[in-house]
Amino acid sequence: MDPILRNRRRRQALYGWMLLSPSLVLLSLFAFLPTATTAWSSLFSRGTPRRPAVFNAPDGYADLFADPTFWTVAGNNLIYAAVVIPVSIVLALVMALYADAKIPARGLVRSAYFTPTVLPMIAAANLWLFFYTPGLGVIDSITALFGAAPVNWLGSPGTALGAVIVVTVWKEAGFFMIFYLAALQTIPPDLREAARIEGAGRLTYFRRVLLPLLMPTTVFVFINALINSVKMIDHLFILTKGGPDNASKLILYWIWEMAFSFFDQPHAAAMTVLVLLVLAAAALLQFRVLDRRVHYR
C-alpha cells in the first residue's frame, strides 16, 4: 500500500479515537461498566460485615420471584404502562388535530397543552395534590355538588394508582402532541381536498389517510412512552410513596427503595437486570422498526 496513504489512515484512526475518548470514558463509567456490575452483583447474596457476600446466582432471582411485592409492583407497572401509553397517545393525537385545525386562539390552546411538559414532575405532583386532597380538594369539592361523599384518592388502595396515572397522562400527552403536530404539518393539504372530492367523510379521511400516514410517528411515540413508563416515577415521592400497602408502587421506585432505604443492593440489582432486559427488547424493536421506516420512505 502507498505509505503516504497508510500514514494518513493511521492518523485518521488516531484522531478519531482521541476525539471519542472523553465520551467513551464517561459512557464506560456510567453506562457500560454499571450495566456489567449490576448483572454481576445480582448474582451475589447480600453481604454483611460478619458474613461476606457469597455467590448464589439463582437464589437472588428466586427470592425476587417469591416475594409477593415483586408481583404487586410488576403488576402495577404493567397496569401503569397499559393505561398511560394508549391514553396519552390518543390524547396527544386529539390535541395535535385540534392544534392543527383552524380554531380561535390556536396559539393559546397549543401552549396550554404543552405547558405541563416544561414543569418538573415534582411540581406537577404538588399541583395535583391540591386536586386530590380528601374532602377539601378540587375533585371532592366538585363531586360534593352532586352529593357524592369525599374520597381519599391517594390513600385508598383502589384509587391511588389511578390518581398517579392521571398525573402522568397530564404531564406526557402534550409532549407527544408535538410529534404528531410536526407529522400533520408534513401531510399535503391536497390529500384532504382529494378525499373530500371523492366524498370521504371526516372519519373515513382520518381512518384511511391520516392514521396510516401517522404510523411512523405513532411507533416513535409508543417507544418513548414505553421508556417513560419505566422512568416517570418522580411524582410517587410526593403523591403516594408507593402506598397504601404498595398499591401504587412502580418498579423504579421499588428499586430506589430497596437500594437506598433497605440497603438491599443484590435484590435491587436483580430487579435492575430485569428492567434492562425489557429496555433492550424495546431497543431492538426500535431499531427494527426504524429500519422498516427507512424502506417505507
Binding site: 411540581a123 378540587v138 415521592f237
Partner: protein
C-alpha cells in the same frame, strides 16, 4: 355547509375545553397561592388576596441556594455535553477507523440503558470517585449523552464535504475545520439540543435526590420535594406558592420563547 360549520364550532369548543382542563391545575395553584390558608379551598371570588404565602414559602427554605445549585448543575451538564458530544459526533461523522460502527451501536444502546435505571451502580461509581454530594456527581452521568452524539453526528454528516475541503485548502487544521465549518453549520441543532438539555435537567429529580445530601448542593426539584411532601405539614397554599415560584423561571422562558421551544423539541425528537 351549515353541518360543516357546526362541526367547526364543536371542534373549537372541544379544543378550548381540553385546554381549560389542561391548565386547570396551574390555575388552581395560582388561586391557592394568593389566598390566605383558610380561604383557599372555598373558591369564593370575593376572598381577600394576599402575597403572604410567597413570603412564608420564601423564608422557610434556602431557595436562593437551590436555584443557584440548579443553575450550576444545568450549566455544568450543558457545557460538558456540548464539548464531548461535538468531539464524538465529529469523530463518528467524518473519521473512518476500525471499530467505528460497532462503537456507534454501543453508544446508541445508551439511549435505552437509562441512567435512571442504573442508580444503584452509578451511585457506587460516584462514591468511588468521591463525588457524592457534589454538583459534579449529580451531573457527570449525563455529560456523555448518546442523544447529543447522535444529533451532532447527523448534523455534521449533512455538511457538504466541499466546505471542509475549501477550509483545508486555506490551511485549516482538523480542529480549525471543526470550529470554523462544522460547528457554525450545526448552530440550529446546538440551540435545539441546548434547550432540551436545560429543560430536562432543570426538572430532573431522582438522581440529584440520591446524590445530594446537604442543602449546599441540593437542586430546586429536590428542595421542592422536601418542602412540599405532605408529611412536612406545610399548608397547601404555601406549597402552591413555593411550587409556582420554582416553576416560574422555566415557565416564563417557555411562554416567551414558545415557538423556539417547540421547534427545539421537534428537531431533537425527530430524526
Amino acid at each position: 355547509m351549515s353541518a360543516r360549520r357546526l362541526l367547526a364550532r364543536l371542534d373549537a369548543a372541544g379544543a378550548l375545553l381540553l385546554a381549560l382542563v389542561w391548565v386547570a391545575p396551574l390555575v388552581f395553584a395560582a388561586w391557592a397561592a394568593v389566598h390566605p390558608p383558610g380561604a383557599a379551598l372555598d373558591f369564593d371570588l370575593g376572598a381577600p388576596l394576599t402575597l403572604a404565602n410567597f413570603e412564608t414559602a420564601w423564608v422557610a427554605a434556602p431557595w436562593a441556594t437551590y436555584v443557584a445549585n440548579t443553575v450550576m448543575l444545568v450549566a455544568f451538564i450543558l457545557a460538558g455535553q456540548l464539548v464531548l458530544c461535538t468531539l464524538a459526533g465529529f469523530a463518528f461523522a467524518r473519521f473512518s477507523f476500525f471499530g467505528r460502527d460497532t462503537l456507534f451501536v454501543l453508544v446508541l444502546m445508551q439511549l435505552f440503558i437509562l441512567p435512571e435505571v442504573l442508580i444503584v451502580e452509578n451511585y457506587a461509581m460516584t462514591a468511588r470517585l468521591g463525588l457524592v454530594d457534589s454538583i459534579a456527581g449529580m451531573g457527570l452521568p449525563y455529560v456523555a449523552s448518546a442523544f447529543g452524539i447522535f444529533l451532532l453526528r447527523q448534523a455534521f454528516k449533512s455538511v457538504p464535504l466541499e466546505l471542509e475541503e475549501a477550509a483545508r485548502v486555506e490551511g485549516c487544521s482538523w480542529m480549525g475545520v471543526l470550529w470554523r465549518v462544522y460547528v457554525p453549520a450545526a448552530r440550529p441543532v446546538y440551540l435545539a439540543y441546548a434547550l432540551v438539555s436545560v429543560a430536562t435537567h432543570w426538572n430532573n429529580f431522582l438522581w440529584p435526590l440520591i446524590v445530594s445530601q446537604s442543602a449546599e448542593v441540593r437542586p430546586l426539584t429536590v428542595g421542592l420535594s422536601l418542602f412540599g411532601a405532605p408529611e412536612s405539614g406545610v399548608d397547601i397554599t404555601v406549597v402552591s406558592a413555593a411550587t409556582l415560584m420554582t416553576v416560574a423561571p422555566l415557565l416564563l422562558a417557555f411562554l416567551i420563547f414558545q415557538r423556539q421551544f417547540i421547534q427545539a423539541f421537534l428537531r431533537a425528537g425527530i430524526r
